[in-house]
């Protein structure tokens, strides 16, 4: 039995996405949490680039570029929030702040 590269890449993307989801559930540090979200975005981009190749269409890579920009915007807003909320706190824990409830 010979191994084809495409299923290996899809399996890797699935694994990376699941790692990101587990990180979002597990992390208490806002930075680790945002990095886990970045992992999930990376896995989605990987599937898009692979799909662009498998279906022989450049559209997948174009959409991947847009998602990359989306990830950058998400990181900027998330990190600004983390800085604004946690800069003067002793304990950096996403369960801690109660004033942003509701």
């Amino acid at each position: 039995m010979s191994f084809l590269p495409e299923p290996i890449i899809v399996a890797t993307a699935v694994f990376i996405f699941c790692c990101g989801a587990a990180g979002v559930a597990m992390r208490k540090n806002p930075i680790g949490l945002l990095m886990s979200v970045e992992l999930m975005i990376n896995a989605a981009i990987l599937v898009m680039v692979l799909g662009s190749r498998v279906h022989a269409q450049p559209m997948g890579q174009s959409v991947a570029l847009l998602v990359l920009v989306l990830g950058a915007a998400e990181a900027v807003v998330g990190l600004a929030l983390a800085l604004a909320v946690f800069r003067r706190r002793e304990l950096v824990d996403v369960d801690g702040p109660q004033e942003i409830r509701g």
Binding site: L4, A11, N29, L34, M35, N42, A56, V63, A73, L79
Partner: protein, 171 residues
């Protein structure tokens, strides 16, 4: 046909660094693991003959986003190890197993077509951005602008409130 060995090596590196991202406890190590993850994905895109995506991944992710993370790690008060509980780790493991099972079932049910390899030039990748994807492409400009304004507004509100606190403490 894709070259098998580089693909397998890059996939293994990407998977290992992804595990490092969620398993490491110090934020600086996590940022370095994310950097390695991003670079191994860029190498994988090169193996997939998607040069433009590889360059974009290296420039935007490794160059901009990871550096932004590192700056925020330096600015946050607690750069030390994260205190996590066993309940959290159990929840993360449960999510990992459940999502792996669900996604593996879905992927196994869908077949992968096997096309001849084709390399797309930057011109070919950029063409849909000005045809079918024109509206999303134009919307990224206000999105980025809104993200910048939101980041500055969050920061400024914090600064103003802190100045007010300081005045209150003096009087």
């Amino acid at each position: 046909m894709l070259p098998l060995v580089p693909v397998v090596v890059c996939c293994a590196l990407a998977a290992i660094t992804a595990v490092c991202v969620i398993a490491m406890r110090r934020p600086v190590y996590v940022a370095v693991a994310l950097l390695g993850h991003s670079l191994s994905l860029a190498a994988l895109y090169l193996a997939l003959a998607a040069q433009f995506s590889a360059v974009a991944q290296t420039l935007i992710y490794s160059g901009a986003i990871v550096v932004l993370f590192l700056i925020v790690v330096a600015l946050l008060p607690s750069g030390g190890a994260e205190q996590t509980s066993w309940a959290r780790i159990g929840a993360g493991a449960a999510v990992l197993v459940a999502m792996l099972a669900a996604l593996a079932t879905a992927v196994a049910a869908s077949g992968l077509a096997h096309a001849e390899p084709e390399t797309f030039s930057v011109e070919q990748v950029g063409a849909p951005l000005f045809a079918e994807l024109l509206l999303p492409f134009e919307l990224t400009a206000p999105l980025l602008l809104a993200a910048i304004v939101a980041a500055i507004a969050l920061w400024r509100r914090h600064e103003v409130r802190r100045d007010g606190d300081d005045e209150g403490a003096h009087t």
